[in-house]
Symmetry: C2
Subunit: 416 residues, 2 copies
């Protein structure tokens, strides 16, 4: 939760619409002027009845935090944060009203070493999750600006970028059509065409870009940054192999000023994460000149992708042993046994009710519990324990100590 005023105006008009606002507590409507009540618009009423809102992302709250704690923080200040955020949007596949963001940000250092560190974090995280085919698309806002300067309408930079960003969705033809509709001319199309399908490895791309954009001041600066970043990435060939320069990548147009990043995967719809450099993150809150760079992981989309790629264990086994429960006298013994098996480091449940065997076995089956311990009347009278291996559907009977040895063998030492 944040103050509504902290969030308003930071995400553009559409963003403002998508912020969930919280109604003031108590008799909220009585504070509105009686004469106003009838005529007032929703927009004018809003600040009178709502002072708080749900987080829309983690970046703006982070900026607010940095400004509030500027004297206590050691710069450069690094932090990660995993929390839910909310968007008042129509929910659909890959787009949620409530979802978790995982952000890593750093403020107070302009060095591209930070970008290289963050790209390493992306690489390591996706690698450890078992996602193999991801690409980290990398661009620099300054190169987009240089591109704009080459056209006949450099003042329409935002329009240009918004159209270019759609290339993935509407193709070269669609982009050309939209550019012409928005008043760019045939010569602009000709100028931009080579950038639509830039080929080659990063060195080749940088060379082409130098030839095309190196003549402008802003283009030169952008290329220096890109060059420097890739010279660091070259020190990590495995990481570099997942990085690709994408001169048209334009996400987060509102506040990125340097490096722009996005992670995609052919099997996933939408990006799995994104980030970039913002030279004036905290300016909105009155602290000028603090540069920052950050990345975000889209936890829910990553989760969805991992389900599609079957990267989660097929049958998650939480409980390894179920101790059955048949008659009152045996319950205490079963309870004690369950405790002792747990002490071996084996997740164990005692079936809490004295239901018939098939019901208890059905419970074990539906929860994929691989071993079931039975204490029937005969077992009870002899202090013995039958164990049913639910996978191999075989059953054996043991003394208590032998049971422990058997379970340790099957459940703890088996992997060794």
């Amino acid at each position: 939760m944040e103050n509504l005023s902290t969030l308003t105006g930071k995400y553009g008009d559409e963003g403002d619409q998508l912020i969930y606002k919280i109604l003031n507590s108590g008799d909220f409507f009585s504070k509105v002027d009686a004469e106003q009540k009838k005529e007032i618009s929703s927009k004018a009423l809003l600040p009178l009845i709502s002072e708080r809102a749900l987080r829309y992302d983690l970046t703006v709250p982070f900026a607010r935090y940095v400004v509030m704690n500027q004297n206590a923080l050691t710069m450069p200040f690094k932090r990660y944060q995993i929390q839910p955020v909310w968007r008042a949007d129509r929910p659909q596949k890959g787009r949620y009203r409530e979802f978790y963001q995982c952000d890593v940000d750093l403020v107070g250092s302009a060095s591209l070493v930070n970008e290289a560190d963050l790209i390493q974090i992306y690489h390591r995280a996706f690698n450890e999750l078992g996602i193999k085919e991801f690409t980290i698309r990398i661009n620099n806002r300054k190169l987009l600006m240089a591109l704009g300067e080459l056209t006949s309408k450099p003042q329409d930079f935002s329009t240009l970028v918004i159209i270019l960003d759609k290339l993935d969705k509407i193709g070269v033809e669609g982009v050309t059509k939209e550019l012409l509709e928005k008043g760019f001319n045939e010569k602009d199309i000709e100028t931009l065409a080579p950038f639509f399908e830039l080929k080659g490895n990063h060195q080749e791309k940088i060379e082409i870009l130098k030839a095309q954009l190196g003549s402008t001041e802003i283009g030169k600066k952008g290329l220096e940054e890109l060059d420097k970043l890739f010279s660091l990435l070259e020190l990590m060939p495995e990481v570099l192999g997942h990085c690709s320069i994408d001169i048209l990548l334009a996400r987060g147009l509102n506040y990125y000023t340097g490096t722009i990043m996005e992670v995609i995967c052919p099997q996933a719809k939408g990006s799995l994460g994104g980030g970039g450099r913002y030279d004036d993150l905290t300016g909105n809150f009155g602290l000028k000149g603090i540069t920052g760079v950050g990345i975000s992981f889209g936890a829910d989309r990553i989760y969805d992708l991992m389900k599609v790629l079957e990267l989660f264990p097929n049958q998650p086994i939480s409980t390894q042993v179920l101790v059955c429960n048949f008659f009152p006298e045996a319950e205490k013994r079963a309870f004690e046994l369950a405790i002792q098996i747990r002490e071996l480091g084996i997740s164990t449940e005692l079936y809490p009710d004295q239901n018939k065997l098939p019901k208890q076995l059905k419970y074990a089956d539906s929860k994929n519990i691989p071993f079931v311990v039975l204490i029937g009347e005969e077992e009870y009278s002899r202090d013995q324990y039958s164990v049913k291996n639910m996978v191999e559907t075989k059953q054996e009977r043991f003394s208590r100590l032998d049971l422990f040895e058997y379970l340790k063998r099957e459940l703890i030492n088996k992997g060794e």
Copy 2:
């Protein structure tokens, strides 16, 4: 986030006030009848402009979930859940507007084995957190009801329980005074007096309670349950040692029907957790006769207590090695070195900017980074590395391989 209608009416009138309501998106006020606008009260306006609300606890959303998924769930169904909840309350020490609850619940089994399992979870969790002096107070709602039946005003059960629950705060004298004010008589005080200071171990207390409350049907049932629960706890002496029967414990009066539990610690204000048995958890959502039992951990209060008890490591070390950064040529080597030290399993940062040494050392110092690697011009030209031990304030110079050996010795093998 939940539908507001799911939460309303589940926490009493005061609870309804404390629920944070979310304003409908878009032109929310236009949907209110124009004629109504001027005269309508906040209370009548609320359902017209708000359909959603923030979770007040995890129990009601859990009940809603169980009902919605009743055909897919295997009973008894167990789950744990860790999520933020919100209360529109005045924040104060130990009382937050946004805080994390950790709940463990089970539905679909009336067996007291479940209560014993949950008490084990409490015991193990607090033990592993290093909190030694906790007490799990245990009562049964049926015993409170039996107590009510012994008075002259059994119909005023709620009033009685609310007063008894204050014993900790206002003492015997205060409770006596309030009871008399509310119309209980001197004989009632006499009847209740022995319960104010029930002494002895659990067996002794149960014996006393049997003598006092065993004559009523409901008292008999409650004592059977308490007896059964403690006969299971007796199988775990360490757990039993933290359990105490408290006949006046009455929390969660609104829905508990059997066992009531609460965890307290002398160093903590308020309880660290609580729970109990609710025989009709899902009745509100149209699914009758499903009994459940659950416990909750107050994560933020536990965190506060652990800070007071100094149970967190004094100086949390996240970064173990800082590689300094002095001049452009050495930066690449420093970057590469940082990657290699990380590969040894040692958390490492490269200082991103080429600032003066004191600034970089100050950064290491303020973040409690124990080792700093320096690559000055001399080190750079010889491919050597100076290491400053920030704790012992000594400095040594190594070749790259010797540096790795030194750091492994100091940071990885030292504990062995």
